[in-house]
């Protein structure tokens, strides 16, 4: 299981949060009557990038195993494969975490 925080936008007044960029096109798709950057909850504050990591939205990701590729391998080879997958996943998650 991997736990990361992701880029989060929150209201500076009411603490509303969302996990997508408040671009006009996206906001209008999800909140048709909304104004760019305006908080869709209180309608007063502005939705801005959350810089406090403890307040960001987070993701929990389970590790994935390709059973077909591993079925004929020895235990040490399976372990090595798992290490490689974990390393790759961790690197990808770090990129997302720092976005």
């Amino acid at each position: 299981m991997h736990n990361i925080t992701i880029k989060t936008w929150s209201c500076d007044l009411c603490k509303y949060k969302q996990d997508f960029d408040p671009l006009t096109s996206l906001m209008q798709e999800i909140f048709p009557e909304n104004i760019k950057n305006q908080c869709p909850s209180c309608k007063i504050g502005l939705v801005t990038n959350e810089t406090d990591k403890t307040k960001r939205i987070h993701k929990h990701i389970i590790d994935e195993i390709d059973i077909d590729n591993d079925k004929d391998l020895t235990n040490s080879e399976k372990l090595e494969n798992k290490k490689q997958r974990t390393k790759s996943l961790t690197e990808n998650l770090k990129k997302e975490d720092n976005s």
Binding site: K15, K17, Q18, E33, S41, I57, K59, I62
Partner: protein, 310 residues
């Protein structure tokens, strides 16, 4: 001859008024006050030779210039321009020069939230204490209410709910229970929502396909309340500050919106649950009573699911 209205010695000269609308004035002798312009009014003015004049009444003339304008006032009349944004409402604001402004209306409740209230009253509040046990369901349409504490897992759920793109609903599905009291200082996980999670010895795996609310109290610390969704691989969740009385979910094809007592707390768009009944416009509603200040109690009165196909 006397008593006539005509001019004569000591009277008013007959040719004093020359123009339609002229009127008499006087200072030290009779004098003509020439008619003013249209809409002007006769106004006393001691600086004028005759003590009056025709003038435009500045405080009566409307300040409006554009369709939809309003007239406001602070120390004098002033224009309140019509809003350039349709749908805005006139709002009092003491910081504005005229005390008013056009503003977007305050957030409104999602549709149909309050229609559920009678369902809660009729179907819940059983005050039955939860007992441990129950089998794991793999039906991803299940309405779930899961709790773990000190390795003791509690599952209360309804599965075999109608499935398909447009299922027929003959009733509202309700999971109702009360956990009371909780041992002071006990850590726990709590989940209520649509879809199944996996209850492990220690906690709940929220990466499973679901949408709902969860609460955790770990390390005898503060309880965290979060809106949570999962797609069988990844959970996306975020703190929603508090859970209060009435919690609601609104799912569309692009987002899940979390409402707490009619206040929008969070919108998630990634890792949306899959195969949830109803597609767009699924309304998922629950009633909870959150913990008291000591975090020693956690009461869950009911959790109700209803689909809408608008």
């Amino acid at each position: 001859m006397s008593g006539g209205m005509g001019g004569g010695e000591g009277g008013v000269a007959e040719d004093l008024l020359t123009t339609k609308g002229d009127t008499h004035g006087y200072s030290t002798e009779n004098a003509r006050v020439a008619i003013g312009s249209n809409t002007q009014v006769l106004t006393a003015d001691s600086t004028e030779a005759l003590g009056l004049k025709w003038a435009t009444p500045t405080d009566i003339a409307p300040p409006t210039t554009t369709k939809g304008d309003l007239s406001g006032f602070s120390t004098s009349q002033a224009r309140i321009p019509v809003s350039v944004t349709n749908g805005q409402v006139l709002t009092t604001d003491s910081t504005e020069a005229l005390g008013l402004k056009w503003a977007t209306a305050a957030a409104t409740s999602p549709p149909r939230i309050w229609s559920f209230s009678t369902i809660f009253e009729a179907a819940s509040r059983t005050n039955t204490q939860v007992t441990a046990g129950g089998a794991t369901t793999t039906d991803n349409q299940a309405l779930g209410l899961y709790v773990t504490t000190a390795g003791d897992a509690v599952r209360n759920y309804i599965n075999n709910m109608p499935v398909g793109t447009n299922p027929s609903w003959s009733q509202d599905y309700n999971v109702s229970t009360t956990i009371y009291p909780w041992t002071t200082g006990t850590d726990f996980d709590f989940y209520a929502g649509l879809g199944y999670c996996t209850v492990t010895a220690a906690n709940i795996d929220y990466t499973k396909n679901h949408l709902g609310w969860k609460s955790t109290r770990v390390g005898s610390g503060t309880i965290a309340y979060e809106g949570t969704i999962g797609d069988n691989t990844t959970e996306t969740a975020g703190s929603v500050t508090t859970l209060d009385t009435l919690c609601n979910l609104v799912k569309t094809s692009t987002s899940v919106k979390f409402y707490d007592n009619s206040t929008l707390r969070q919108t998630l768009t990634t890792n949306l649950p899959i195969n949830v009944v109803g597609g767009d416009n699924v309304f998922n509603s629950g009633l909870t009573a959150r913990n008291v200040a000591t975090a020693s109690r956690f009461q869950i009165y009911s959790w109700t699911y209803e689909a809408s196909y608008a």
